[in-house]
């Protein structure tokens, strides 16, 4: 995990940010958090469509799970109401637990799939849940030393 993380840092060190693509929200089902699965044209040459769609669909599933209205959420809500909502100060809500799962998933996706292709996904929570920001990096190529370029190639070979 630590070495992979360092490779991600070195990707940024040896690559320059070319552009950012924003995946907007899909409001067709109301105000629930769901992102569009339309494949942006800028990523055409960088990543396979299926991988991208899988990532977005999994994220949508996570958000749907967080916002699911069912027995457990009602229980949590009623318990909170009965304690005059003081329980929100002590306990972590289900939404927050799912958000932690989401950030772990995004980090894992970045390390395994996106960083080797020179891409980086930003967690939507850092953009107010409005967009999924994907940063596209261009490899500088000549600026890094031989060891840094070999590390980039080793990460892309994963």
């Amino acid at each position: 995990m630590a070495t992979e993380f360092h490779n991600l840092q070195e990707l940024r060190h040896s690559a320059s940010l070319a552009t950012k693509v924003f995946i907007q929200r899909d409001y067709s089902e109301g105000t629930i958090c769901k992102f569009q699965t339309k494949f942006p044209s800028e990523l055409d040459s960088r990543i396979e469509r299926t991988l991208f769609e899988d990532t977005v669909k999994t994220l949508n599933t996570f958000y749907a799970e967080a916002e699911k209205i069912g027995g457990q959420s009602y229980l949590e809500g009623c318990l909170a109401c009965a304690t005059a909502y003081i329980i929100f100060l002590c306990m972590e809500t289900r939404y927050e637990k799912v958000l932690k799962k989401i950030s772990k998933y995004i980090q894992e996706q970045n390390e395994k799939i996106y960083a080797p292709r020179g891409l980086l996904i930003t967690d939507p929570i850092e953009r107010g849940m409005r967009v999924i920001e994907i940063s596209i990096f261009e490899d500088r190529g000549s600026s890094g030393s031989s060891s840094s370029s070999s590390s980039t190639s080793s990460s892309s070979g994963r």
């Binding site: 993380f5 360092h6 840092q9 070195e10 940024r12 060190h13 320059s16 940010l17 070319a18 552009t19 950012k20 924003f22 929200r25 409001y27 067709s28 089902e29 109301g30 105000t31 967080a66 916002e67 699911k68 209205i69 959420s73 009602y74 949590e76 809500g77 009623c78 909170a80 109401c81 005059a84 909502y85 003081i86 929100f88 809500t93 289900r94 939404y95 927050e96 958000l99 950030s103 980090q107 980086l120 930003t122 967690d123 929570i125 850092e126 953009r127 107010g128 849940m129 409005r130 967009v131 920001e133 940063s135 030393s145 060891s147 840094s148 590390s151």
Partner: protein, 391 residues
């Protein structure tokens, strides 16, 4: 070796240190003190306890609301409870105490919770949206008001572009001019609680007004009972009202919802008919508000939508149906009041990245020391990108 090479980048050499108040007395700091995001928040809000508590800029009436509730309840507990415990039951102060706790706690939570503020768009995001609008729109000098139409549950909904926050507002979001923020599921800006009421604190607000209705009705009932019992024991109702300090809760139970009525009552001395009438109307105003919000909850509407008549079919030829309603009163109530609690999107206590732009860099979630080192490169790259965008 990789580590050494990477760690040799010294952000201190590249970023210009700005003086921040107050500088630490002993250590010679080359970097500026890391600031939290609430310190650079662009909206008109005030923050306390290092970003844990958020209120609107004008929170002037909140102390009054709190004061009125505390004083009324205090007088009730001091004057009426001892008498009623003796003559009726000892449950009276218990019920009163529980209601009082609910009222105060829910009031404070309504006032100090982030109502669902949407953070403003990053420069990159705003540029991307502008590009999309320019591609589709005409190139006239004054562009038409920017709206986007979407379909939610077979209902056409218009999303408006917010010029302050530089985003297309999600459905049910509105920009509060007092707080200068876009708030999700915006209900209204309540001066009595000193904050907007939106997605995250609507349930607290509802609990507050419902428990306040019960509390005022309870106090009103107890005071009437107290005076009646005294009138029976002693020389009659008028004497009881004149002599008993129990008349003060009458004055103040009337004041709890309404400042103007408070002014009137203060000028009225020993006139029980006026007091009762004023008290009656005051309690009805709170009960009316509770009833109105119960209707809103049951039909999954916001005050904003109800006032504008968005879904009542007043405007347009076709029938507008609320697309967010589940068409079941019970489900609507459960969803609005007991639904999952969404997180705060503005991350008040997070640290601003060292490059000074709080939203330009994607942050890694573990190992915060790496964030500072990344930003040096990201700043250069972001500047390059920004220049290439505007070229």
């Amino acid at each position: 070796m990789k580590n050494c090479e990477y760690q040799q980048i010294d952000p201190r050499a590249l970023s210009t240190p700005t003086p921040t108040p107050p500088p630490p007395p002993c250590a010679k700091r080359k970097t500026q003190r890391p600031r939290r995001k609430w310190e650079v928040f662009p909206g008109r809000n005030r923050f306390y306890c290092d970003g844990r508590i958020i209120v609107a800029r004008q929170s002037g009436v909140l102390p009054l609301t709190l004061g009125l509730i505390l004083v009324t309840s205090g007088l009730f507990f001091i004057f009426d409870c001892p008498f009623l415990v003796v003559h009726l039951t000892s449950c009276i102060p218990v019920i009163g105490g529980v209601l009082f706790v609910f009222v105060v706690v829910s009031l404070l939570q309504t006032s100090f919770t982030d109502p669902g503020i949407l953070p403003r768009a990053t420069p990159d995001e705003a540029a991307d949206i502008e590009k999309q609008i320019d591609n589709s729109g005409s190139s006239t000098y004054r562009p038409p008001p920017r709206t986007k139409e979407i379909v939610i549950n077979e209902q056409v909904v218009k999303l408006k572009y917010c010029f302050t926050c530089k985003i297309f507002r999600p459905p049910r979001t509105s920009h509060c001019s007092l707080c200068d923020n876009c708030v999700e599921r915006f209900d209204h800006h309540c001066p009595w609680v000193g904050n907007c009421v939106g997605k995250r604190n609507y349930r607290f607000f509802y609990t507050f007004i419902v428990s306040l209705s019960f509390l005022t009705a309870f106090i009103f009932g107890c005071v009437i009972t107290h005076l009646t019992l005294r009138a029976q024991d002693e020389k009659g109702l008028v004497y009881a009202l004149q002599e008993s300090p129990a008349r003060y809760p009458f004055h103040l139970a009337a004041c709890v919802p309404s400042l103007t009525w408070h002014m009137n009552v203060c000028s009225v001395k020993h006139n029980p008919q006026t007091e009762l009438v004023v008290c009656f109307f005051s309690i009805w105003s709170i009960l009316g508000l509770s009833g109105f919000h119960t209707y809103l909850v049951a039909s999954n509407l916001t005050t904003n939508e109800d006032i504008k008549g968005s879904w009542s079919g007043k405007r347009g030829a076709e029938d507008s149906v609320n697309p967010y309603s589940y068409n079941n009163i019970f489900t609507n109530c459960c969803v609005v009041l007991c639904g999952p609690m969404p997180p705060s999107l503005i991350d008040r206590r997070g640290f601003v990245p060292e490059d000074g732009d709080p939203q330009a860099t994607p942050q890694e979630l573990d190992l915060p020391p790496f964030v500072a080192k990344n930003d040096t490169n990201m700043e250069e790259n972001c500047q390059d990108f920004a220049l290439s965008c505007t070229a």
